[in-house]
Symmetry: C2
Subunit: 479 residues, 2 copies
């Protein structure tokens, strides 16, 4: 059994040596995922899947509170139906997985494994919406989608990933626009409330918006390597899809009208955000309110008579108060256990040994700062509660400061290049023209992440064409 | 708007006229599902999906309480991997959907859309199990699976359906056998606790067991037309799959050993059980603890000044106490609303009008018996709670009595045929030989549903071969 006492996390790459390799190491060593035989189709291991479950629980509650209903659409879309909305097809066709054989027979209409379900929702809405009384319809779906990707990375870009897709139909343009923005707000609050990630929010440029949408909004997270990660989007469709799919309703006045549409989604990509924003050279660092295990109890000298019973008593106490606790009673050394649970990023480690029991205390160690706090057992519950709050706030603040430190106002292409090469957002004004935007990408590999809501315009010209600049944009390299 | 006042449910087929058509009518009219363009791939509408969510919440809690962890495996299985366990392949190959094109290119190893994930779990277990410390591994997956079916019916048999599949690995045969039976027990309790369905539990005959399993157990529900519906199964695999996939571990003593395996699952088929076991000629009748809406409030003369505010006050009160309530404020007539929510099977209807408000009371109507109960508003919460309990118990008792009335002991093939033709279980002893079992199916179209745990053997001979009968079996026609 000696070989198991080797400290596992010595083997992960350091962030500054190779950030990409560090990321992959953490995904595997923290047991978040594993590869399958098919490229881009990963196995979500229990610890990684539990992160998704916690995100899902939060969002599902928020969606239901705001009047949304869950639904489940077929996994497959007939190719003929998929081809109905032109812009949409062009956006997705190159990356589809297509089934051609069913029950040993060749299929006449080939079946596309859903890359997204806009067309299925539209077709269904055409059937179930007929009166103004049927509106709004606010549906959401939790499922996996398939996009045949050439370059894949765990959680960040996969051929299959888990997500939710909301699709809604409304009586008025105003109501649909409100939905588009209020769902973005919920995504932003997900970051603030449980992921400890400050997002930048804003509108996508026309070049970067979703295939078929009139407007796309996004939340963007900034990674420690200075690259942005698009972490969620909401779309306002106007009446385009609805008209293409003949979705219409009879108004109160008896007239035939077309409803206004939105869609919005986040995916398991958020797990990638969590790993990168918070992780360190010892592995994962999980924000307390999304962590599958919030407190891990490590008994010290567990062979001594009182230790395990005392550890279990603490376990019962914390569990009873809805804290997610794990007690590690395995026959590994405490040192091995410390490293193991550090790799897994558990926010609080609780150590309890014979001397602690004698003194009616235990030792708490914060994963994010490695601080040790000795607490009296009588006050344990309050202290744990408080420390989880503090850890969340510290992690959010740290990420927020990093974000603020990496937004730089620039006024030329050279400055922009300097900023994005070093890492971070270059805040720049531009004329609004897609040609100029293309040029910027070509020359710097940075893309327009979003036009922040707070435009804080300054007087400037477009650095490409020299015309009057109209919009403030955050440019960055991106995942 | 006059046409909306026509009572909708006049249009559903009566059970005694055509039970199958009644079933389809209810599925559609109660808005549980809709058809898509692809045969056997249904749309789970919000009301139907919410039933599944409630089943899922119950089971997920039970699974986690008993130490199971959720995981997510890829949607696709390479054909080469799928072909590894022979018996298993033979069971599933005829009904697979196969993807052959990815990102516009022909795939070298074709991809099977998962019909079940045994092989993926086994392959993963081979990677993550190496020491006795890694056992048991108790994983569960919530997902959809695809089986290309020729004859499909909503919820009962689909080309795609939602389910959970548990897959576990254990140190000892005893532990694995215990798991197989204790998961069956949880399924049975699902019926007792929230579906109000009494299942018959037992072991499958060798002929009826799962492809590759050593033993299969099932819960079977009896439908009002006298046919059985297999509603969940658990399997004991022994070491067969584990050996085929090289799953092994080092024991405490340093020896290489093979673990013992189980799997178990229930699916959206359970929704079909709920519809048929409890429904009547007015539509769905939902058991309270699985019903998406437990109480629907219908304001009477809602244009009168006090009515809506009073109805909303009741709504708030019940919601605050975790009762699932809906208030129907639409501009339809009360009569229309009554019929509509009866069709949807809401367990309790609450009527409140000006006269009720004057007398500080409201009217409750039980969906299952149509009884009216007038209650004082001060006692409303207690009464609602109590009535939901009573409705659940009445529905379970009714179904249980029906089950008892439809188990008939028989001693010959003629008797068996008479019983199953009329509808219900024929309880018969048989020699245990598969040839005789085949003969029984051929001559009666009934199949061995299960060998109940309580064997209550009697002295008999096999009605086919005349040899000594060894096992008590429940035969029935089945869905």
């Amino acid at each position: 059994m000696k070989e198991n006492n080797v400290i596992k996390n010595e083997s992960i790459t350091r962030q500054e040596d190779d950030f990409a390799q560090w990321y992959t190491d953490v995904c595997l060593k923290a047991e978040l995922m594993d590869y399958s035989d098919v490229k881009g189709f990963i196995i979500y291991r229990p610890y990684g899947y539990a992160l998704w479950e916690n995100i899902k629980n939060y969002l599902d509650m928020r969606f239901k509170q705001t009047g949304h209903e869950n639904i489940y659409m077929p996994l497959v879309i007939p190719e003929s139906l998929f081809n109905k909305e032109k812009e949409h097809v062009e956006g997705f066709a190159p990356e589809t997985l297509i089934a051609t054989i069913g029950g040993k027979n060749k299929l006449e209409d080939r079946l596309i494994i859903r890359p997204t379900s806009e067309v299925l929702f539209c077709q269904h809405y055409a059937k179930v919406i007929s009166s103004y009384r049927d509106l709004p319809k606010k549906y959401n779906q939790w499922c996996s989608v398939v996009r045949w990707e050439k370059t894949t990375r765990p959680f960040l870009r996969g051929s299959e990933f888990l997500w939710q897709e909301g699709h809604t139909m409304h009586l008025t343009e105003q109501e649909a626009r409100h939905e588009t923005l209020s769902m973005l707000e919920i995504y932003d609050e997900l970051g603030k409330d449980i992921l400890a990630i400050p997002f930048v929010k804003g509108k996508k440029t026309d070049k970067e918006k979703f295939a078929g949408a009139l407007e796309t909004y996004s939340i963007e997270a900034l990674m420690p390597d200075g690259k942005a990660l698009q972490s969620g989007t909401t779309h306002y469709f106007g009446q385009g899809f609805a008209k293409a799919f003949n979705v219409s309703y009879q108004s109160k006045e008896g007239k035939l009208e077309t409803p206004y549409q939105t869609s919005w989604g986040v995916s398991t990509r958020l797990i990638g955000s969590i790993i990168m924003v918070h992780g360190d050279d010892n592995g994962l660092v999980l924000p307390p309110y999304v962590a599958p295990i919030q407190v891990v109890i490590i008994p010290i000298a567990q062979q001594k008579p009182n230790v395990l019973p005392e550890a279990r008593k603490i376990y019962e106490l914390l569990t009873k108060h809805n804290i997610r606790v794990k007690i590690d009673e395995t026959d590994k050394t405490p040192g091995y256990k410390f490293a193991d649970w550090e790799m897994k990023g558990v926010p609080l480690r609780l150590e309890i040994g014979p001397r602690d029991i004698e003194n009616n205390r235990c030792v708490l160690v914060k994963r994010n700062t490695q601080e040790k706090i000795i607490v009296n057992q009588d006050d344990l519950l309050n202290q744990v509660d408080l420390l989880l709050k503090i850890i969340h706030r510290e992690m959010y603040q740290k990420a927020y400061q990093f974000l603020l430190d990496h937004i730089t106002e620039v006024h030329s292409l050279d400055e922009l290049k300097q900023v994005v090469d070093k890492g971070g957002y270059a805040k720049m004004m531009w004329c609004g023209d897609e040609d100029c935007e293309n040029k910027i990408k070509e020359l710097t590999t940075a893309t327009a992440r979003c036009m922040p809501f707070n435009q804080q315009e300054f007087d400037d010209v477009c650095p490409i064409c020299g015309k009057k600049a109209k919009k403030v944009v955050l440019f960055a390299k991106a995942y």
